[in-house]
Amino acid sequence: QQQVKQSPQSLIVQKGGIPIINCAYENTAFDYFPWYQQFPGKGPALLIAIRPDVSEKKEGRFTISFNKSAKQFSLHIMDSQPGDSATYFCAASRGAQKLVFGQGTRLTINP
């Protein structure tokens, strides 16, 4: 019940395309859903986060869509650029408790 399942494992998109990464969770007590971006040799960095009382959140080219009834959330990257090539992790937590991470998606944006 603590798992967060993420798909796909890897994704290749042409520049300007809209990659979509999906996550599903089981624990309905989770109340915070962040996405982290990780470049090789670096630690994860917070990209955008959402709480379950809203269905969508946009920050720049990044959008989270949240479906509470389906217990799913997704990351969309608009007008993707080669610099967006990285590994993306979804996560979930309850209050001040630990972040539970998905398995990660390796995203490649081709020029």
Partner: protein
């Protein structure tokens, strides 16, 4: 403000040896986490501190791993003795009380041969 500092960046040891990692969180952050990230997987929590007290160590292999956070600031994570499957990146993260965002360090890449 300075980020989460970790050292060393890389460490190679033989199995059955011991190793220690150090973390200095962002100033004022009471919550400190140690995560283990195995290649190709998401980070997995090993231990969470609130100031110098342990909040969650349910996934810490206590027969070989130990961690402490004396004085509620810096923290060390130790492995003794190391096994081949301990090869991973060990990430430290910190969070200010009342905030949701956790900030991660660059990690220590451990290779056990």
């Amino acid at each position: 403000e300075a980020g989460v500092a970790q050292s060393p960046r890389y460490k190679i040891i033989e199995k059955r040896q011991s190793v220690a990692f150090w973390c200095n969180p962002i100033s004022g952050h009471a919550t400190l986490y140690w995560y283990q990230q195995i290649l190709g997987q998401g980070p997995k929590l090993l231990i969470q501190f609130q100031n110098n007290g342990v909040v969650d160590d349910s996934q810490l292999p206590k027969d070989r791993f130990s961690a402490e956070r004396l004085k509620g600031v810096d923290s060390t994570l130790k492995i003794q003795p190391a096994k081949l499957e301990d090869s991973a990146v060990y990430l430290c993260a910190s969070r200010r009380t009342g905030n949701t965002e956790a900030f991660f360090g660059q990690g220590t890449r451990l290779t056990v041969v």
